[in-house]
Symmetry: C2
Subunit: 353 residues, 2 copies
């Protein structure tokens, strides 16, 4: 029921996803009265799914604390299905803060994980790059950053299929002395962990699009700003190119000649192709679709969830964390910072503690 054009966008997206994943079965949770007529329209979605009625739904502007108290929201019932093993994963285009809060409480974090993070892929000159945290934790300590690196590495291995992913820690300079103590300590821990040589060290903002590393690790504030800044810059460029190719007859002719390449470029950079942020560090697959996306974008978020389930992402992360714990690296770190905020800057979760 979440997202700007829900529930139709979701059902239409599911229709596309059902075609791409012939063996997939979907549990569609929401207002049955609204879903039934939509399923009559989207045949493949209907054939692949079961509807579970939910009397209420979490709204976009609802505080996570309020959403946590709702026992019968569509979001809650969908997450419950993951927690009780009925579903392998959940995809939602709804309220991010509520989804993260519910997932943490119902699906729970993996043993040893202090805080889950949001991860997604972004385009780079050398192929897709995983970036995390994208906003689940506004403030992060050394331990969080180290855990993000372990989870990001597993994301790159399982979802992007990179056997030896290289990991970079986002900083204001690549020199070892740059940045704050928290970053320097995280770098030290990673260098001596099982990640070892795959830890590239510090990277800077321009390294994201350059694809210097396969994984970019940062706190949720910086990651959120970087993700949106990069998207904004690409969007600006896209808009300017549109202007160029419609500004004159000669430019319109040019577009016809360069169409194949330009269309491929647009397709490759299409934000819908990067839709689907994964909440990593949970004991199950939880994917957040952008609320403003369309059916194609939502189908991509479903692809991401299917990928993670099929490649044993959750078990892989648990394994990486076990290795880290064995090396007793985490034990050497300070306790998590009690002042650090959880969730995307949502004070409500702090209240809920």
């Amino acid at each position: 029921m979440g997202g700007d054009d829900a529930p139709e966008m979701v059902v239409a997206g599911l229709d596309l996803a059902a075609e791409r994943h012939p063996g997939g079965r979907f549990l569609l949770v929401g207002d049955e009265a609204r879903l039934t007529p939509l399923l009559a329209k989207y045949k493949r979605a209907r054939a692949a799914s079961t509807v579970r009625h939910a009397a209420e739904s979490v709204t976009g502007d609802m505080k996570p604390t309020v959403a946590l108290r709702m026992r019968d929201s569509s979001m809650r019932l969908a997450i419950d299905a993951v927690a009780n093993g009925e579903a392998s994963g959940v995809v939602s285009a709804g309220n991010t803060g509520a989804l993260l809060a519910l997932a943490k409480i119902v699906v729970k974090t993996l043993p040893g994980i202090d805080r889950p993070a949001m991860a997604a892929t972004v385009p780079s000159a050398r192929g897709d790059v995983v970036m995390l945290d994208l906003g689940a934790n506004v403030v992060c300590d050394t331990r969080n950053l180290v855990e993000f690196a372990v989870m990001g590495e597993m994301f790159a291995r399982t979802v992007l299929g990179i056997p030896e992913p290289r990991i970079g820690l986002l900083n204001v300079g690549s020199e070892e002395l740059k940045g704050d103590e928290r970053l320097r300590r995280a770098a030290d821990v990673l260098r001596s962990s099982h990640i070892g040589e795959r830890f590239h060290g510090f990277v800077e903002g321009h390294d994201i699009a350059a694809g210097t590393t396969d994984v970019i690790v940062t706190d949720g504030f910086t990651g959120n700003v970087a993700l949106k800044t990069g998207e904004g810059a690409l969007k600006l460029m896209g808009g300017l190119l549109r202007q160029v190719f419609t500004s004159s007859l000669s430019a319109k002719i040019a577009y016809l000649f360069a169409r194949t390449g330009l269309d491929r470029l647009r397709e490759w950079l299409d934000p819908r192709r990067y839709n689907g942020a994964v909440m990593v560090g949970l004991n199950g697959v939880v994917v957040k679709s952008h609320g403003g996306t369309d059916a194609l974008g939502f189908a991509h978020a479903v692809d991401v969830a299917m990928n993670m389930v099929e490649h044993g992402f959750t078990a892989g992360i648990a394994d990486g964390l076990r290795k880290l714990a064995e090396q007793e690296k985490l034990a050497a770190l300070a306790e998590p910072d009690a002042d650090a905020l959880a969730l995307t800057g949502e004070p409500p979760l702090a209240e809920a503690k």
Copy 2:
């Protein structure tokens, strides 16, 4: 003497700048034995400048603490000339940390300013936008952010010529509850300050390129990452476009048809056009050119400095700060955070205290 291709790049840039600013007089500080033959080659630079010999120079990898102890470096003598009123401003393509440290100690900060910041313009869909801090302060408190807003407003007024600049505070969401306490308090102070309605509130990463506000205020860590992420995304797009237009004969023909528009776009986004970060909050004009730029880029950094001098930027900021102090807004804020780092993640300055 600073920059990858110095001193020739600097002299060649000065040659261009001398043509653009016929009344300008330049004090060229550096190794006379290297500058003299260059000035024989660049006639306009020679006609407009006086050479001051400096026996030594600050290197790119030198710690600010070491640079601070050098009394006769070209950087020090150039900054001395600003402090003693001989020059109206200084432009350097050298070591950023050293330049900021020297400028703070020699030129000094304006009365009431806790920390100077680095500001520069970036491209947006609605024209150039001022962003600060770009890395002078890795950690910032509420007071710093408020001061940055006042200085950014003056930058937009005097350098970009925007009579009523709109100011945004970079955050992970535009809702009032997002972000940390530090950001929420800065927003409260700005809303009730003389900036008042020109304070737009929180903006997100995508608002930078969208040009939602004329000024983007953020801490030095986030600003540095955002600046470089945006630059990286534009560079990626530029590289991909080059590939598109060289990939086939048909695409090469297309380039010829669209050349005017594409060249204009490239020119507009040319990083050299945005070269010249201003160290705002100092009692004089201090501009940092990118070390890797060429003559055209360096000339632009000189343009920025000339602009600031001609438009009374320093006096304008002092006036804005006085207004803020009169409203006793700053007094209501907590004392500066003693743990906050000065300079671009350079611990040496902390040692120097």
